[in-house]
């Protein structure tokens, strides 16, 4: 029977159920976690003996650039990223190539081999939604969804300027349905619009060109709209002024804007059993904090500003962040923040690309290499780890590399090991530029995260944050049967022995997806179907009608016809709408 399996005797780390290495058996039937199996089911079930191993829910990546036009632009402009990294086809799997921007197939296999089963695309420009879905559909093994880029959208800027929150909400609801996307992404609010005129925005109260909207108004407006609609996830914010010395100020001030807004998640789903309340309690999810945390005034005097932001986050309860760690080596920087890419081009002289997405947003791509010999890159490495270690409550942090911006997701094992092992950090301090130690607090941090904490940062919290904890990020009864078994024995685990941790995290002993073993010691052994999640957000029909009249009127500024705008469900594998804001 496919999708029925017992994972026996493992040390289970399931923070949403407060299981901290308890030895117990996990039963999965027809793809879902169950309390037990009947004797008949037991006979048909597959068995994994996880004695002396670490068992966690399948990995959940809540912020990764894995599909769509800009990822593909990265592939196209980087043949050099592909020719040395490639895998042959097998009877079961496709061939693939690419290191920082792998082909869709390789991406799915590589994530699964590391124990990840759910990955959300960080930025979907509405006009590129169809392309993004085509790539998500082609990415094997991973349950996926994508966040819609709305922070510089003409319709929303207009509605929010007019103070018409009802229409703004109706527009967001319609856009989520239309593009089969999941949550609101806000990139360099109000600033990317200015980039269309060769300018940017560098303070929260600077009004942008034509629309006269400030970043503060955009963040406030979108947060309120997000909670009016009861979206599954908080506003997903990429703050202004990213990657500039001194940007930590604007980041901290931006995080204060949503503070008065109460999180209100209104989703109609079947919740898996958990001990901890799995519903969302944050009103802002700031992404890649590291890139937004530089203090100083120039690249000569810049230093880490993470401490100030961490202090603020420690003092409040409405913020959750992902780290955007930079584990050294090759990366491809890609973002909806076009001007940030231009700044990197002037810094590096590398090849780059920029795109204006009509009435909606922008984007850019540039290859980047993080070097241990470089002072700023070494600083960034330390700052990324500071974000995860200086914020005290692990339920406020999520581990990412903003893949492939800080480095490809295949470097997660390094990041996991750095946050778990002071010895590994010391070893890297010894290899990299002294700014890593001199200009951050990391050298004085002796905190080492436990496997339980790690399960929060890579499973429970990303799932809870984005509103997927009803089925992902736990092993509670009713949850999806997605499990990672690491060949690491928690009883003998010594964080000083970081080679052991690296080995364990690089390759899951088993990755189970929907109760089926999909990867075994790095080898893909099954490729079952996947799901794509999106938010089907409900608003009053009358509101939608009024709003659509405006949209149709302005559609003359688009290069495509209104009827061609939506992404039909056929572009999704197993489309799985989440009902949001439904009248009960």
């Amino acid at each position: 029977m496919t999708g029925t399996i017992v994972i026996k005797n493992g040390h289970v780390f399931d923070p949403l159920n407060e299981l901290n290495g308890d030895v117990l058996d996990i039963f999965i039937r027809d793809g879902k976690v169950v309390r037990e199996l009947s004797p008949a089911d037991m006979k048909a079930a597959k068995v994994i003996d996880a004695r002396g191993m670490t068992v966690m829910p399948g990995g959940v990546d809540s912020h990764s650039h894995v599909a769509g036009a800009k990822v593909n632009a990265g592939r196209q402009m980087r043949p050099e990223d592909h020719y040395k990294t490639n895998t042959l086809k097998t009877d079961l799997t496709h061939s693939g190539s690419g290191y920082t921007v792998p082909s869709v197939y390789k991406q799915g296999y590589d994530y699964a081999a590391m124990g990840y089963t759910t990955v959300f695309e960080a930025a979907v420009p509405p006009l590129e939604a169809r392309h993004t879905h085509e790539e998500m559909r082609a990415t094997p093994l991973l349950d996926m969804g994508g966040y819609l880029v709305l922070g510089n959208n003409w319709f929303l800027m207009r509605y929010l300027k007019e103070g018409d929150f009802e229409k703004a909400a109706a527009y967001v609801a319609w856009m989520m349905k239309t593009h089969k996307t999941y949550g609101i992404k806000c990139v360099n609010p109000a600033g990317v619009e200015n980039w269309g005129w060769g300018k940017n925005i560098n303070n929260l109260d600077q009004a942008n060109i034509h629309f006269e909207m400030t970043p503060r108004e955009m963040i406030k407006g979108l947060t309120e709209v997000n909670e009016m609609l009861g979206m599954p996830m908080p506003l997903h914010l990429h703050a202004n002024n990213l990657g500039h010395p001194g940007c930590c100020e604007i980041t901290r001030e931006s995080l204060k804007i949503p503070a008065p807004v109460r999180a209100r998640q209104k989703i109609d789903v079947e919740w898996a059993e958990t001990k901890i309340d799995p519903s969302r309690d944050r009103s802002v999810y700031l992404t890649h904090l590291m890139f937004n945390s530089f203090a100083g005034t120039s690249w000569r005097d810049c230093e880490s500003g993470v401490k100030g932001i961490a202090d603020y986050i420690n003092s409040t309860d409405h913020v959750v962040i992902d780290s955007g760690c930079t584990p050294f080596g090759e990366a491809t920087v890609m973002t909806g923040d076009g001007p940030a890419i231009h700044d990197l081009y002037t810094l590096t002289g590398n090849k780059w690309s920029n795109t204006d997405i009509e009435l909606e947003c922008g984007s850019g791509v540039i290859p980047f290499t993080y070097l241990k010999s470089n002072p700023v890159h070494s600083l960034q490495w330390a700052m990324g780890l500071e974000t995860l270690l200086l914020i005290k409550d692990p339920w406020k942090t999520i581990m990412t590399t903003d893949s492939p911006n800080g480095g490809p997701f295949t470097k997660y094992p390094e990041v996991m090991t750095w946050i778990m092992s002071e010895a590994y950090r010391k070893q890297t301090f010894g290899e990299c530029h002294k700014w890593a130690n001199d200009r951050t607090e990391l050298g004085g941090v002796n905190r080492e995260l436990s496997l339980y904490d790690l399960a929060i940062l890579t499973r429970a919290n990303p799932a809870k944050t984005i509103g997927m904890a009803h089925r992902k990020g736990s092993l509670g009864v009713g949850a999806d049967g997605d499990v990672t078994v690491y060949d690491l024995d928690p009883q003998t685990l010594n964080p000083d022995n970081y080679e052991e941790l690296l080995r364990g995290f690089r390759q899951a002993a088993y990755t189970v997806k929907g109760g089926e073993i999909v990867a075994k010691a790095g080898e893909i052994v099954a490729v079952p179907e996947k799901r794509t999640y999106y938010s089907e957000v409900h608003v009053e029909a009358a509101r939608e009608k009024e709003m659509l009249a405006d949209v149709k009127e302005w559609f003359r500024y688009y290069t495509i016809g209104f009827a061609n705008y939506p992404t039909p469900e056929k572009y999704l594998e197993n489309p799985t709408p989440i009902q949001v804001n439904q009248e009960s």
Partner: protein, 269 residues
């Protein structure tokens, strides 16, 4: 040094991806084991023995192994790719990417070499007795860093983009080169006895280029800094008067590339 000989059994139609032909892979293997090594031909993986008669023996290590290819290997790609030691002699011509990523040892091509010879080479000696194609010692497409070390000697001429993105090492050309010699060069030495057509040193930021002969269309981003008589780089000597330029200032105000052009052949510069 033990010698292993590969003799063609048949004419090759679709080109072979033969990066297994290195002293590193062959060392310590019997002729039979070598016949069973796989090479890609289009979509198929085929034993090397389908195409070559394998005779002789290999040394215990790469250092002690000489591979001699008898016949024209123009349709065999990647011979000696990433080799670290030992020696390969190709009695005819070599296919694309001969000696690509080579780290050490010696590789001699008695005939001509197709494009991408010594691509991203790191060490060793690649000697091409005939002519070479495009992209000698160059960075792979899209990459900004080409050859890092070692030496490529071409007795004949080479075509476009020789030494593109070169970081270190030496490329010595007996004949002439075509377009964009030393494009994006960051370091190392390119010395050409003959002339060049256009685009010499464009976007170079470091390293040295010597063109003894005529440069047909000189790159606009270089400034004349003086003349020198007789150049020497280690044991290499280039006689005569040279005009010395620095650049390419079209890419950076602080560019440190040096370009010497033979004064006798370039009176108008």
């Amino acid at each position: 040094m033990e010698e292993l000989r590969l003799t063609f059994k048949k004419e090759i139609d679709i080109k072979l991806e033969a990066d297994v032909i290195t002293p590193d892979t062959f060392a310590g293997k019997t002729a039979e084991e070598i016949e069973n090594l796989s090479v890609w031909q289009g979509p198929n993986s085929v034993p090397l023995g389908e195409f070559f008669e394998v005779e002789g023996k290999t040394g215990a290590t790469a250092e002690e192994t000489l591979i001699r290819i008898i016949g024209d290997a123009y349709r065999v790609k990647q011979i000696g790719a990433e080799m670290s030691a030992g020696r390969i002699e190709i009695e005819g011509s070599a296919g694309m990417r001969v000696g690509a990523g080579m780290k050490g040892g010696e590789l001699v091509v008695f005939g001509n070499a197709d494009s991408w010879a010594g691509m991203e080479m790191e060490g060793g000696l690649l000697h091409i007795k005939g002519d070479a194609g495009d992209h000698v010692g160059c960075a792979y497409r899209g990459a900004w860093h080409g050859m890092k070390g070692g030496r490529i000697v071409i007795d004949g001429s080479a075509r476009h983009q020789l030494g593109g993105g070169m970081d270190g090492g030496e490329i010595l050309v007996g004949g002439s080169v075509r377009h964009f010699c030393g494009i994006h060069q960051n370091g190392g030495l390119i010395a050409v006895r003959g002339g060049a057509f256009r685009g010499v040193g464009v976007e170079m930021n470091g390293g040295t280029i010597v063109i003894c002969g005529k440069i047909e269309r000189f790159s606009p981003g270089f400034e004349l800094t003086g003349t020198e008589s007789g150049l020497s780089f280690g044991e290499l000597e280039y006689e005569g008067e040279f005009k010395k330029f620095t650049g390419d200032y079209a890419v950076s105000k602080r560019a440190k590339g040096v370009l010497y052009a033979g004064a006798a052949k370039n009176p108008e510069l």
